[in-house]
Symmetry: C3
Subunit: 199 residues, 3 copies
């Protein structure tokens, strides 16, 4: 297992757990919680792949199904003790957000689209799964009101553009982009930074 | 008209009627009820076809539009007397669920994907229309809390795999798979079998 | 800029503003309001393009992103004074609905589908963005209960068919189709015409 795969599994796990926990608060059954967790984890990338005319990534590799099953097992076994791990899951979630943003940008560029489409697709990859989760549990999307989240992905896109402009290698560009997303999220949550409410 | 087509129309009718009845409980107008009924009937298969990079099936054959119009006429004409037909519609719905699961699995295998993708697509074909219906009428998805439903499709996928493994013909595999879904649904509703609630 | 482009920008602006205003009533932040406005403006056409196996139109031209930014700026700057412009926005919205219906029909025919699919895709192009908007803000879709809206698109499809049948040129067909949608909307709102509620 490469370091990249390890990071991706951590991020998928964090996304799936966030879906399963919110589903359990709504008293969904195990199957419903699994579906909500899976949708949270793979929803953004699926939307991206459909718009890029690609086969959704999880249909080519059963890892994501298995990781979601692991997430369900963790929630069932740990139950109320999960709250003590909130900080851990927050970090996993931020790492996943950074990585998914990079994956979304690069897959879009590889499909032949310009960078501004890549930035949108990076943001969708990172943030749309959480929106689909909130639609499934019939709540207003959380990310449109909480601390800076999707905008961190857009900022990551700007960093990606900057790195490319000054001629950095692909590896450095990826690391700087993902790190910038993670740093923005950590700072936003630490200081409670939110965008202004409209009106 | 083949027996297969007859079964498909029954299932489509049952799905559309379930959507139209729930829309009418929300005081939607005729057009809104039609849209909700149509989405319930074709939503799962549409999601499947988009993910398989195929043209949504209902765009190639106007039958589904016409059957949904029939469903709307039935609900308007029969009105409150529909309640007496609840058992009939339950059976139609179970038959549709079984058939749609088989169609979803076979279309996925024909597109070159492995069986585990087929089982997911069979479940989406059978159950996702009801989830889209509940999103349109702004309710929490019913199938994540009521008697075993989507899991019956997954079980049907397991039966399909078993039939293929022992070398049964395509016809027998289809009949056993669909029947297993129907039987599980009938037993689940008769005995009120539900999955455990999470937490 | 051609007249066609000018009309398209007006319609996009009206759709985006309707999304942003409803998002602000839910106290979404600026980013959330932008996403809801953008989804309202491009959601119908995106759904259409995915079902026609085409790349979503807004991924090929950044105009729609920019127009949505303009819509956000208008809502922020004008704020409560927007109410006085309600009639203006209603006209823009009706013009957009007419134009989007025509675009949806023609793009579907160009992709090789028959006219009945074109009528559905024209209706989706015009009306589905508003449904996606209402799903994002967690409300029951407005168009399923208010004055005749999506049905005006279906009526426009009938006019398109009539124009083609009698051999009118493409230009006349487009103008008559869009005008019929606009006229139906204006009459429906002026006289408060609604479809019957089901049950």
């Amino acid at each position: 297992m490469t370091f990249f795969t390890f990071i991706e599994i951590l991020g998928t796990l964090a996304f799936a757990i966030s879906g399963i926990r919110l589903a359990s608060a709504k008293r969904f059954d195990w199957f419903g919680a699994y579906v909500v967790g899976f949708t949270t984890a793979i929803g953004g990338g699926t939307l991206r792949d459909l718009m890029l005319s690609l086969t959704p990534f999880w249909m080519l590799d059963p890892t994501y199904l298995v990781v979601t099953a692991g997430a369900l097992a963790i929630v069932i076994v740990l139950g109320p003790y999960l709250i003590r791990l909130n900080n851990t899951f927050f970090i996993f979630d931020a790492i996943g957000l950074g990585l998914f943003t990079v994956v979304g940008i690069e897959k879009t560029l590889a499909a032949g689209f310009p960078l501004w489409v890549g930035v949108i697709m990076g943001t969708i990859t990172g943030a749309a799964g959480g929106v689909l989760r909130d639609i499934l549990i019939n709540e207003e999307p959380l990310i449109f009101r909480k601390e800076i989240y999707a905008l961190a992905c857009v900022g990551g896109g700007a960093v990606f553009w900057l790195c490319e402009s000054v001629g950095l290698s692909a590896g450095f560009t990826e690391v700087f982009t993902a790190s910038s997303v993670i740093v923005v999220r950590v700072i936003a949550v630490h200081y409670g930074l939110k965008l202004p409410i409209l009106k």
